[in-house]
């Protein structure tokens, strides 16, 4: 009985705090994405040939975890199968945040373009806490500044 109460409290707390944190995060991501629109990041490997650039490696990373409510819902979903949308938002947040951090570093260098952007995603929750997903997203690329 006690255990059920603890889980219920954690799920409720996770729901309210987690939702609030996520909405705040998405708002900040959208704002920063709009200000960084002027600095495009591309997956292309070939910068324009006619110009000379100063090339610098830039990267951004983020470690992000799901809240208890979402983990709980995903656990239920896992049983029946199907789309787990609570994990999708987690990965979306992580990828966009990592890319933004990379772009912010490129902006500090005064770069105009970021080329050959690569993403790397890894789960770092380890075996000790099987149920709580913690992911790391690392985005890196070459910032180009016109000479």
């Amino acid at each position: 009985m006690e255990q059920i109460i603890i889980v219920a409290v954690l799920v409720t707390l996770g729901y309210f705090f987690g939702r609030h944190a996520e909405q705040k995060h998405f708002k900040s991501i959208i704002e920063r994405e709009q200000t960084l629109n002027a600095l495009p990041a591309m997956a292309s490997r070939m910068p324009p040939h006619d110009d000379q650039y100063q090339q610098t490696l830039v990267s951004g990373n983020v470690v992000i975890a799901n809240d208890y409510f979402k983990t709980f819902v995903a656990g239920l979903r896992n049983f029946f199968g199907g789309k787990i949308s609570t994990y999708e938002t987690l990965l979306d947040r992580g990828r966009r945040e990592a890319l933004l951090r990379m772009k912010e570093k490129a902006q500090e260098l005064g770069a105009e373009l970021v080329f050959n952007v690569k993403y790397e995603t890894s789960s770092i929750s380890g075996q000790s806490r099987k149920n709580i997903p913690i992911i790391e997203v690392h985005a890196y690329g070459t910032a180009l500044k016109k000479l």
């Binding site: 490696l57 992000i64 809240d67 690569k118 890894s122 770092i124 913690i134 070459t142």
Partner: protein, 107 residues
């Protein structure tokens, strides 16, 4: 030392290829940080301690790769790739590798 994950440097010529250089770093989580992030897990969100830990780890791996490149006389590393692998609970290996080259006019 010039670093890039493109296969060339614009406006510079590769004079000599020196082969693959690499650097790696294995880091484990700090117990105190681990407990704090355990609490953070309840509410979700970014775990800043881990972000910094992995960032430092990547910098160290890159530093080792640069040292190796310097020791064989390179002045740039091209086509850099990163990779992460979890080797045990709570420990991650960061691996970075690239091609060491000599450029004709590094400045």
């Amino acid at each position: 030392m010039l670093l890039s994950n493109l296969e060339f440097m614009t406006g510079k010529k590769v004079v000599k290829h020196l082969g693959l250089v690499q650097g790696s770093s294995v880091r484990a989580k700090h117990a105190g940080k681990d407990i704090l992030s355990g609490l953070k897990n309840m509410f979700g969100g970014e775990l800043k301690a881990y972000t910094e830990l992995l960032q430092e780890s990547r910098e160290e791996a890159t530093e080792r790769m640069v040292q190796q490149a310097q020791s064989i006389g390179a002045n740039a590393v091209l086509n850099i790739r990163f990779s992460t692998s979890s080797i045990a609970a709570g420990a991650a290996e960061i691996y970075v590798y690239g091609t060491a080259v000599v450029l004709d006019n590094p400045e």
